[in-house]
Symmetry: C2
Subunit: 399 residues, 2 copies
């Protein structure tokens, strides 16, 4: 039998994935499992999107252009303009989910061995795409005690080497829900400019900002227009993660040209997904507002509830639909596994994402979990009760 | 402005892509352009597939499992069994097109610097995926004069180094239409076994074999079950290239485990595409037969027509819907560009794929083109006339 690749063996398996068999067992035992672990909104996909899919009237489901359908990209130009992001249709390349946009950004901009600086905790799959591209992620810890604010310029500069080619941010942030301030974005702009770096900015949660504080896109920053590669996705805002449609947006001609080579290699993004996504851009304002208000309420409900549980602490997330909370426990990996395998409260239990998967610095996030508020308030309430009861019983409780 | 990646700059742009602007100009001038260059079938997507899409009755278009929907994979087990390919549902991983299956095969099995032996001419995008994975493709020329038969064992052995980790074939072949014989497949089996290599086998055209000669899958070969990674796609057989659904099939547990890590990183394959592809497996036999008969007729018509043009030669392709033909010209890149930019016959011209894009050995395929028979016979006839007239006028004609 041939030897398997070391690269594959070295790729870390996500801590959530390890919990999946435990969750399945819990369900098989008849337990109700509240999924606080996932980023799949429970809200309905807009009707206008579903209708567009049903109305597809083509004889052949052909390849679409490698850069995506022109009509869809034209509508995206108008969509971004609403957020004061002024890009041309030629700056937008449609990808197979935001995931592919991240991967193609790395492939197009970086060479093997190049380094990307990422504030952590960070979306775990960035690491996988970096490994795929042969790039190296260097993380700077942000801390729950500072509410996950952007680390200081000095911390960035400590990590910069001749191999440093990019900074990667997610704003609003998955997993922390943090929204970078104008001052923080200016700090990033200055670093990027001073060291001539790419700024990869994952802004898929822009629609979900709750505090009145402005959403500052990387494209709002002056003087670094050629450094910015924006990653986007329709998955979260229209609750259509399954269609796998995202976008990579850049004004940098060389980057575009390189990205297109990878786009052409994989031929085209999903056709039906593009039709659905294009129609989604016409989602009525009242749907968007309803979704927004729903998340606002859930967020308040969840965070208040978490902070009421003795020994728990969650900063108030300003965007997205996640929070990273600190629990009075020895080890979140163990606690999350224990909840699924050894605990139940009135026939229920909870599945959460241990925060260890979002840090690369060993030991960080050990007593933290990511909680997504993609459940209805009533269910969130029950899940909070289960969490409180679990913490009371958990043998590894620290407080 | 940050420096762009060398990897991207080094990635070869496809020779077909360079022709696209010329084709657009020709169309803008009002010329009718016959597209002999593409692998997009003109035949209708099966009605049963379109109906399944229109009947989707879900509230949320959610992520599907990273390995693909279970129901679809179960139906694929039965589909493969019809071809005497006996695999379990756990051996099948759904991918975003056959393209992703090729890429994940490389990522999961190979480390940077590892070598893959590929008979050429070969599908140009294998090269792109190898570059993505940091792997190195070593090609062995097959020749039009030998009808593109598999090169001898000796030619393979000359290329084998300690870095050689895999052999990659496409069977039936794109671009040549060649179908490997039992003897050739046995030869591959022996090499793979002797040197402990992976055998990546792209078999997306299995439905299109025209000579009565049997289709031999890599999975039919005894004793190398753990070496085989099969690449599949529904694109060609159901004329649904746009839905981006393929599969990676392997019995090798380690490979599966590694592949799943990449699958999880990109979250899931397209949901609607899977629904369409699953329904396509129920396509009535008479549709499949009609499509098959249509290709049989076109193939005869095209090959006869080509061989009747003075100085042209095409071997008889045994499968797929392409042929590589030799033309009496100095340079196919120039000729194909000339047809689009400087030639017309009664308001018509042709677009073909220069074969240079399918070879990596410099100079090979210089007077060859790939022609796809994805047009109706009537259009193929007109295209053949245009080709004949073009060859008469072309200044770089050699015979």
């Amino acid at each position: 039998m041939p030897n398997i690749s070391q690269r594959g063996l070295n790729m870390p398996a996500s801590p959530i994935r390890k919990l999946v068999p435990l969750a399945n067992k819990a369900k098989a035992k008849g337990l109700k499992v509240y999924h606080l672990n996932i980023g799949q909104p429970d809200l309905p996909t807009p009707e206008v999107a579903m209708e567009a899919m049903r109305a597809v009237d083509r004889k052949v489901l052909e390849y679409s252009p490698s850069e995506g359908n022109l009509g869809f990209r034209e509508k995206l130009v108008k969509y971004y303009a609403k957020f004061n992001i002024h890009v041309g249709v030629e700056d937008i390349i449609i990808t197979t989910g935001g995931s592919e946009a991240v991967f193609f950004s790395f492939m197009a901009c970086l060479d093997p061995g190049d380094e990307i600086i990422v504030p952590e905790p960070a979306y775990a799959n960035y690491m996988a795409f970096a490994i795929s591209a042969g790039a190296v992620i260097k993380t700077i810890p942000s801390t729950i005690d500072e509410g996950f604010a952007l680390p200081s310029v000095e911390r960035f500069e400590e990590l910069i080497t001749p191999k440093t080619k990019a900074v990667l941010i997610c704003n609003p942030n998955n997993p922390t829900g943090y929204l970078y301030t104008q001052k923080e974005m200016n700090q990033l702009r200055d670093i990027v400019k001073k060291y001539d770096l790419f700024l990869f900015s994952d802004e898929v949660y822009r629609e979900f900002c709750y505090t009145g504080a402005p959403y500052i896109s990387a494209f709002h920053l002056k003087g670094i227009e050629n450094n910015v590669v924006l990653v986007d996705s329709v998955s979260k805002r229209y609750s259509e993660c399954g269609i796998r449609i995202g976008a990579l947006i850049t004004k940098n001609l060389q980057v575009k040209e390189n990205v297109m080579k990878w786009c052409q290699a994989r031929l085209s993004p999903p056709l039906i997904g593009q039709i659905i996504a294009e129609a989604s851009l016409d989602t009525p304002e009242d749907y968007m507002l309803e979704v927004y208000n729903e998340y606002v309420e859930r967020r308040k409900f969840l965070i208040d509830g978490l902070n009421r549980i003795p020994g728990c602490y969650s900063p108030i997330p300003m965007g997205a639909f996640y929070t990273v909370a600190k629990l009075p426990i020895d080890n979140a990996d163990k606690f999350c596994a224990w909840c699924l395998s050894e605990f139940e409260y009135e026939g229920q239990t909870i599945m959460m994402a241990p925060a260890s998967g979002f840090y690369t610095t060993p030991g960080l996030g050990k007593n933290e979990v990511r909680i997504a508020y993609v459940l209805k308030k009533e269910e969130l309430g029950k899940a909070l009760t289960v969490l409180e009861k679990a913490l009371e019983k958990y043998p590894g409780r620290t407080l």
